[in-house]
C-alpha cells in the first residue's frame, strides 16, 4: 500500500526519463539476479491508519499497565508522573525529527538542550563533566568499564552484588569483548560487604562498581566503600537513581570518578523498558575518555554565543577504531524529556519530591512490615524502594494481588536465588497513602490465602514453596 510517498505515475515517468532508464526495475539490475527476492514479502497487506490504530490498540489492551494496575514495581524503572509539558515539548517536530546536530548553525536548539542537560546532570551527580546521554542505565555502566580500562590499562572489575542485576549482566557481556575479568562482592544486611570489597580490590583492579540506592533499595555508604578503590588506584564508578539525588549525597562528593545510571525516572515513561536514556558524569580528568556526545559552548564568527558538539575527536566518526566508544545514535529526545522534567520540578521541587519519596517509602515499609507473613529483608536505610520477605510463594501472592488490580512489586528470586522469598516494593509520588494501605491489605489477604491453601490441602506444596524456611520469626 503506497504511503508517505509523493511520486505520481507522471513523476515516475519524468524521473525515469531523466535517469535514462525504462523502469525502476532496471535500477535494481545491479543486484545480481539470484539475489533478487523474486516474490512478494510474506507480510500482511498494508492497512489504513484507522485499522493500524485498532490493531495496535487491541494489543495494548492486553497489557496490564500502570493506568489499570496500581504499580509498586520498580527495579530501575518507576511509575513517576511525567508532566504534560514534557510531551508538549518533546513532541514538537523541531525536537522530534532532526538527526544528531552535525550542522550546528541550524541545530542550536538541540545543542543548547544538551548543554543544559549536561549542566543539570552535573549538578545532580556533583561531578563536573556530563555527556549528553547514552542508551540506558546498564549499558552506560558497561561503557564505564571501557573507560576504566582506557584510563587504568587494567582489566579487572570489582562489582557489588547490590548493582542492578541487568547492569552486572551487561557488564559481564561486554567484558568478554573487553577481555576483562569481573569479580562480584556480596551483600551483608542489605548493603555491600565492606570487608569483602576491600579484600577483592587489588592493584590490577581497573574499577569498583557500586550502586546507591542499591538494587535492594538500600542507601550505600559510597564514601566508605570507595576507599578501597582509591587505595589501589582503581576508578570508583557509582550507579545511582537520579530521583534520589535531591536528598542523597551526590556521588561526586563521595569520591566517585564516574556517576551514571538509568535516566527513566526523569521525564520518561515506562514504555515497557525503553526508550529512556543513560546518564554519564565524570571527573574533569576523564573528559577526553567519555563516551557519547558532549555539547560545548563557543562563539560564531560574529561573536554570538553558540553551541557545538565538542571533543568529537573521541568519537567513532572521527577516531574510528580508536574511539572511546562506538555509540552514535543515542537518546537525545529522552534526555530532553529529562531536562524539561527537571526544570519543571525546579531546585526545590526536586528536593521536595525526594523527601516525599523517602517519607512515603518509610511509611510503606513500616506498614508492610506489620503485615502477618511479611518481614523486612534488610533494615538498612532506604530512599524509595525496599525489600521484604514473604512467608508464602511470591509468585502466587503477586498473582492474587494482580487480581485486585495491584502490581505488588518485583520478585527477587530470578536475580537473587538467595532471596527466593524476596519482594522489592517501589514508591513514587503517584502511590498514595491509600494505595499503600491497600497494598498492605492485599498482601495480608494473599499471604493468608496462600497459607490456607497449603494448610487446607494438607500435603499440597506450591512450586515456589520448595525453598529454605524463612529466617526470623513472624506473626
Amino acid at each position: 500500500m503506497t504511503r508517505y510517498t509523493a511520486a505520481t505515475p507522471d513523476d515516475r515517468r519524468e524521473m525515469l526519463d531523466a535517469i535514462g532508464v525504462g523502469s525502476a526495475a532496471e535500477l535494481f539490475e545491479q543486484i545480481p539476479e539470484p539475489l533478487r527476492l523474486g516474490r512478494p514479502l510474506a507480510l500482511p497487506d498494508g492497512m489504513s491508519e484507522a485499522e493500524v490504530y485498532e490493531r495496535l490498540a487491541a494489543l495494548a489492551e492486553r497489557n496490564a499497565d500502570a493506568e489499570e494496575q496500581v504499580c509498586f514495581v520498580g527495579a530501575g524503572m518507576y511509575d513517576h508522573y511525567v508532566p504534560a509539558i514534557v510531551d508538549a515539548i518533546t513532541s514538537r517536530s523541531e525536537f522530534l525529527t532532526p538527526y544528531t546536530p552535525y550542522q550546528p548553525e541550524i541545530s542550536q536548539g538541540g545543542l543548547q538542550v544538551m548543554f543544559e542537560f549536561q549542566t543539570a546532570m552535573s549538578e545532580l551527580t556533583g561531578l563536573p563533566v556530563s555527556n549528553a546521554g547514552l542508551y540506558e542505565g546498564p549499558s552506560a555502566l558497561a561503557s564505564a568499564g571501557y573507560l576504566a580500562i582506557g584510563a587504568t590499562k587494567r582489566r579487572r572489575f570489582v562489582v557489588s552484588r547490590g548493582v542492578h542485576p541487568h547492569s552486572r549482566e551487561t557488564l559481564a557481556t561486554y567484558s568478554v569483548g573487553y577481555e576483562a575479568e569481573v569479580v562480584e562482592v556480596g551483600l551483608e544486611g542489605g548493603v555491600t560487604d565492606a570487608a569483602a570489597l576491600a579484600e577483592a580490590v587489588d592493584g590490577d583492579t581497573a574499577a569498583v562498581f557500586l550502586q546507591s540506592p542499591n538494587f535492594l533499595g538500600a542507601v550505600e555508604d559510597v564514601e566508605a566503600l570507595g576507599a578501597a578503590a582509591k587505595e589501589h588506584g582503581a576508578l570508583l564508578i557509582v550507579a545511582c537513581d537520579p530521583m534520589t539525588l535531591g536528598i542523597l549525597k551526590p556521588p561526586g562528593e563521595c569520591g566517585a570518578d564516574i556517576a551514571l545510571g538509568e535516566g527513566q525516572p526523569l521525564g520518561n515513561r515506562l514504555d515497557f523498558g525503553g526508550p529512556s536514556f543513560g546518564f554519564f558524569c565524570a571527573s574533569e580528568e576523564q573528559i577526553r575518555r567519555m563516551p557519547g556526545r558532549i555539547a560545548g559552548e563557543t562563539e560564531d564568527v560574529d561573536g554570538r554565543r553558540g553551541f557545538v558538539l565538542a571533543l568529537q575527536t573521541r568519537e567513532q566518526h572521527i577516531r574510528r577504531e580508536k574511539a572511546t566508544n562506538n555509540i552514535c545514535t543515542a537518546q537525545a529526545l529522552n534526555a530532553l524529556g529529562a531536562m524539561v522534567h527537571l526544570a519543571w520540578l525546579g531546585r526545590h521541587g526536586f528536593r521536595e519530591l525526594g523527601e516525599l519519596l523517602v517519607r512515603r517509602t518509610a511509611y510503606a515499609r513500616e506498614r508492610l512490615a506489620a503485615v502477618s507473613g511479611v518481614e523486612l529483608l534488610h533494615t538498612a536505610p532506604v530512599a524509595r524502594e525496599f525489600a521484604v520477605r514473604l512467608e508464602a510463594p511470591v509468585g502466587a501472592v503477586l498473582d492474587r494481588c494482580a487480581e485486585r488490580g495491584i502490581a505488588a512489586g518485583y520478585p527477587l528470586g530470578r536475580d537473587y536465588p538467595e532471596f527466593e522469598d524476596g519482594l522489592l516494593v517501589a514508591i513514587t509520588e503517584r502511590r498514595t497513602k491509600e494505595q499503600i494501605d491497600e497494598l498492605a491489605e492485599a498482601l495480608d489477604a494473599a499471604i493468608a490465602a496462600e497459607r490456607g491453601a497449603v494448610d487446607g490441602h494438607g500435603g499440597f506444596v506450591n512450586q515456589e514453596d520448595a525453598k529454605a524456611p524463612i529466617g526470623g520469626g513472624a506473626a
Partner: protein, 507 residues
C-alpha cells in the same frame, strides 16, 4: 530600515539556568499524606545531601517559552529537505507516535509478569517475524538500542560462535568505506580491524580481500559489510565475498543502515550474511529525535541463534483450546547475555511495527523502489550543468538509495570546499548532505533523498546547488562565509574542543 541581522540572530542565547530566579517554580507536589518525619531520622545524615542541586527555579510558562523558542533554532525534517546520506531521513508518521503513547504501551512496566504483558510480547514477536522475513534470516533479537549496539552484539555473537567451536580469532575485515561505528565496535569487542580496499566500481576489491584473508589465515573472525555500501552502490560480488568468508570460517556481518534501498528486493540472508542489524530509526521511520532514540535489532542465521542475547521473546503454542502465548525466555545457556536492561526500546518497536503494518509487504517494496528512484533522479539532476562539472559522482553507475559526489573539482576550480557548499545550502533552506564521508572520497558529499520526498523538492535542491556554484564563479567568498541567515553563523569548533566548556557555571 536596513536589516543587520535576522530576529533570531538578534536574540542572545540564554540557558534555562540563566533564566532562573530564586523562589520561582512550576511544579506543585502532592502532600505526602504520611507522617512528616525529619529526613535524618530516616537516613543517616552523612548519606544526605547538604544543598539541593542548583536546578533552575522557573515558572511553567517560562519553561514552555524557553523550549519552544529554542526548538525554532533547529532545522528539522518537518521544516524541509534533509538529504543526509546514510541517515534515511524519511517521513515520521504521527500515527506511530499516537499508538506508542497508548497507556497500554507507555505505562507498561518492563518487569510486568509476561502473562500480564501478552500484548507487548506479541507485538515484539510480530516485529521479530517481520524483520526476519525482510532480512531473510530466521531469528531476531530486538535488544540492541541502536545500530552501533547491534554491531557490538553481532561481534560478541561472532566471538561466542568461535569460542563455542574452540577457536579464538582476532581480526575483523571491513572495507575502507565502512562507517565509523564499525571499527569502533570491532575494538570494543576485542578484535582488530583489517581494512579492505574498494574497487573501481565502488565495491570490495576482491584481490585485496583475498590477500587480507590469506595474510590473516585462521585469524579472521568475520567481515562487516554494508550493502548497498556507503557509496550507495550494491556490491555485485557479494555472493563470492560471502563464500570466501564462509570458507575462511567466519560469519558475515551486515550493517543494515542502508536496508532502505532493498526492502523486499534483496535480503541480506539470501546474500549470505549471518548477522544483520537493522536501524529502526532509519528504514522503519522511528523519528531521530535530534540524536535518538533508535533501536538496532539483529537478525541471525541458525548457527548464530544459540548465542542471541537474553531474554528472548518466544511464542508458545497453546494447549487445551487456549491460543498461543508469549513469553520471555531466559533459559539460554549459550547466550552472550544481556546488552542492556529489560527488553529493549519497546516504544521504538511499537512505532516500527505500526509502520510495517501501514505499508504492508508491497508498501515496503515500493518504498525502497521509490527511494532508489529518487536517488537516481537527483543524481541525474546533479550530473547536469555546473554540478555535473564541479561535483562529479564518485563512482559513476546507477546508485541505490543514495550516492556520493566529490567536491574535489569544485575545490580546485572554484576554491569552495565541500563544507562551504554545505554551509551555503543552509541559507537556501536545505539541510546539507553528509559531508566528508565516506573517507575514501575526497571532499565527499553523500546524498540520500529517501522515498518520502516529492520530485519538486529534489528539483529545488538541484537548482539550489546549481545556483550556489554559479554564485561561486562570480564570488567564492559568498559561500566561504556562509551561512548568513541561520540563528548563529559559523561556529568556532576548535575552541570548543581545545578549552571545552561543557556545562554552565553557576554561582
Amino acid at each position: 530600515m536596513a536589516l543587520t541581522q535576522t530576529p533570531m540572530q538578534a536574540e542572545k542565547a540564554q540557558t534555562i539556568f540563566e533564566k532562573s530566579k530564586a523562589g520561582r517554580r512550576a511544579a506543585a507536589l502532592p502532600d505526602a499524606g504520611v507522617p512528616e518525619k525529619p529526613l535524618a531520622e530516616l537516613i543517616p545524615e552523612k548519606l544526605l545531601r547538604a544543598e539541593p542541586p542548583r536546578l533552575p527555579e522557573i515558572s511553567e510558562p517560562e519553561i514552555i517559552r524557553h523550549y519552544n523558542r529554542l526548538s525554532r533554532r533547529n532545522f528539522d525534517l518537518d521544516t524541509g529537505f534533509y538529504p543526509l546520506g546514510s541517515c534515511t531521513m524519511k517521513h515520521n508518521p504521527r500515527l506511530n507516535e499516537r499508538v506508542a503513547a497508548l497507556p497500554g504501551h507507555a505505562r507498561l512496566h518492563p518487569a510486568q509478569d509476561p502473562r500480564r504483558a501478552q500484548g507487548a510480547l506479541e507485538l515484539m514477536w510480530l516485529l521479530q517475524e517481520s524483520l526476519s522475513e525482510i532480512c531473510g534470516l530466521p531469528h531476531v533479537s530486538l535488544q540492541p538500542s541502536a545500530g552501533s549496539h547491534g554491531e557490538l552484539a553481532g561481534l560478541l555473537l561472532t566471538r561466542a560462535y568461535h569460542a563455542d567451536r574452540g577457536e579464538e580469532r582476532t581480526k575483523v575485515l571491513a572495507p575502507d568505506t565502512s562507517h565509523g561505528t564499525n571499527p569502533a565496535s570491532v575494538t570494543m569487542s576485542g578484535y582488530e580491524v583489517v581494512k579492505v580496499a574498494t574497487n573501481e566500481r565502488g565495491g570490495v576489491e576482491m584481490d585485496d580481500l583475498r590477500a587480507k584473508l590469506a595474510e590473516n589465515a585462521d585469524e579472521v573472525a568475520c567481515l562487516m559489510l554494508t550493502n548497498p555500501n556507503t557509496l550507495g552502490v550494491f556490491d555485485e560480488n557479494i555472493a563470492e565475498i560471502a563464500s570466501l568468508i564462509h570458507e575462511a570460517g567466519g560469519p558475515l556481518y551486515y550493517d543494515g543502515a542502508n536496508l532502505n534501498a532493498v526492502m523486499g528486493h534483496s535480503r541480506p540472508g539470501d546474500m549470505g550474511f549471518d548477522i544483520v542489524h537493522v536501524n529502526l530509526h532509519k528504514s522503519f521511520s522511528q523519528p531521530h529525535g535530534g540524536g535518538g532514540p533508535g533501536a538496532g535489532p539483529i537478525a541471525v542465521s541458525d548457527r548464530i541463534e544459540p548465542y542471541l542475547p537474553r531474554p528472548q521473546v518466544v511464542r508458545r503454542e497453546g494447549s487445551n483450546g487456549h491460543g498461543p502465548s508469549f513469553d520471555l525466555d531466559f533459559e539460554r545457556p549459550r547466550s552472550i547475555g544481556r546488552l542492556r536492561g529489560f527488553q529493549g526500546n519497546f516504544g521504538v518497536f511499537v512505532r516500527s511495527y505500526a509502520y510495517i503494518l501501514s505499508l504492508g509487504g508491497d508498501g515496503l517494496v515500493e518504498a525502497s523502489e521509490t527511494a532508489v528512484l529518487n536517488a537516481n533522479y537527483l543524481k541525474a539532476r546533479l550530473a547536469e550543468g555546473r554540478a555535473g562539472k564541479h561535483l562529479p559522482i564518485a563512482f559513476d553507475r546507477h546508485c541505490m538509495h543514495e550516492f556520493v559526489l566529490s567536491g574535489k573539482p569544485m575545490k580546485r576550480d572554484l576554491g569552495l570546499a565541500t563544507l562551504d557548499l554545505a554551509k551555503r545550502l543552509l541559507d537556501y533552506g536545505f539541510h546539507p548532505p553528509t559531508v566528508y564521508f565516506p573517507l575514501l572520497v575526497d571532499e565527499a558529499l553523500m546524498v540520500e533523498p529517501t522515498e518520502t520526498e516529492a520530485k519538486e523538492t529534489l528539483d529545488a535542491f538541484a537548482d539550489a546547488v546549481e545556483q550556489i556554484l554559479a554564485e561561486a564563479e562570480d564570488n567564492p567568498d559568498l559561500a566561504k562565509n556562509a551561512p548568513y541567515t541561520t540563528p548563529v553563523r559559523r561556529l568556532d569548533e576548535v575552541k570548543a574542543t581545545r578549552k571545552p566548556v561543557v556545562r554552565q557555571q553557576l554561582q
